[in-house]
Symmetry: C2
Subunit: 203 residues, 2 copies
């Protein structure tokens, strides 16, 4: 069943993965029930288990489907572009993802909080390599005087943290700001651009 062989299989596996993303991200792995995922996918539990053998398998599938999209914004950081604009654009892409794919962000957050039992290998492998590569780019920008001399790793962490915060801590942000439609994403993006480029100290 690893490679979908029929149209129905492809459709249903996709529907299940979408439903599972919602449920897992909102309830955590343990809090999500197979029944809840099945109901959200519009099918019975045994039917769902016809497509995925175990709850774990569903979870792993969801994680896998996410990974590429998740790292795409960092991958797109372009050595050849203008450094300041590249970083501003990276911030924007990440804020957009927090706005448009909050469930994905929360799923990752849940996995991290538990110690990444299903992703530790990816973190230490592909992710680490990608970050190292981009850190090199950032360091070169620093050396060329295009941006300030800062630790590129912690810069990347700060970009992740500030942008994903709008998805992961959405309740808190909304509680503090009051309900603002989606204005918080726009205002947050503007603030972050200013923060990352110019900081707080008056010039």
């Amino acid at each position: 069943m690893n490679a979908p062989r029929t149209r129905i299989q492809a459709e249903n596996r996709a529907r299940i993965a979408a439903a599972a993303l919602d449920v897992f991200s909102a309830e955590g792995f343990r809090g999500a029930t197979v029944d809840a995922i099945a109901e959200r996918a519009g099918m019975s539990k045994p039917n769902l288990l016809y497509y995925f053998p175990t709850k774990d398998a569903i979870y792993r599938e969801v994680l896998e489907r996410l990974l590429d999209d998740w790292l795409a914004p960092l991958r797109a950081l372009d050595e050849a572009g203008d450094p300041v604009q590249e970083i501003a654009a990276y911030l924007d892409r990440k804020i957009e993802m927090a706005r448009d794919f909050p469930a994905e962000s929360r799923l990752f957050a849940n996995e991290m909080l538990r110690g990444a039992p299903n992703m530790i290998d990816v973190l230490q492998g592909d992710l680490r390599a990608l970050v190292r590569e981009k850190a090199k780019v950032i360091r070169a920008w620093s050396a060329a005087g295009k941006i300030a001399r800062v630790d590129p790793y912690h810069l990347i962490f700060a970009i992740w943290a500030t942008t994903q915060h709008y998805a992961d801590y959405d309740v808190q942000v909304r509680a503090v700001l009051g309900d603002d439609g989606e204005g918080r994403f726009h205002d947050g993006a503007a603030f972050l651009r200013k923060l990352f480029l110019d900081g707080l100290r008056p010039r």
Copy 2:
């Protein structure tokens, strides 16, 4: 049983709360089992349930014990101090908390991810009021030209996000950096000070 009447009660309730903090923060509410908390506290499950009537009650107790400590760093932001130093000091305090009390941070993160079912009233009440008050202070600093004109709410979010990231995403940070003892907290603090004060654009 709300107010401990004996020495043993006070001791055991404290031991249970400490154990529960560890288990809840690592596994999430649903992932934590009463048995696991009891074992970690060094007692049997029925014994634990002699001190707290339900799993929910344990969880609420843990949240309550945390709240004051959690908001203390923001409360300490002093209108009368030097703005730049006040913000730098706030960053430092928050980074220290991420290093010294990561379980607390992760517990909050778990609660936020689920939509804060047990804290939404606090968020919309005390927290919101406190943030509003401090936002006013920050805005006054901006108006006086002591710091740049930025949205004070999003500034506070950014401080929370960047500092708590070192607790909540600890696995990821360690996977990317390799094991570094606790150097990441020192380096992170230095980076954040520079980021928040001066930004990335070369001067």
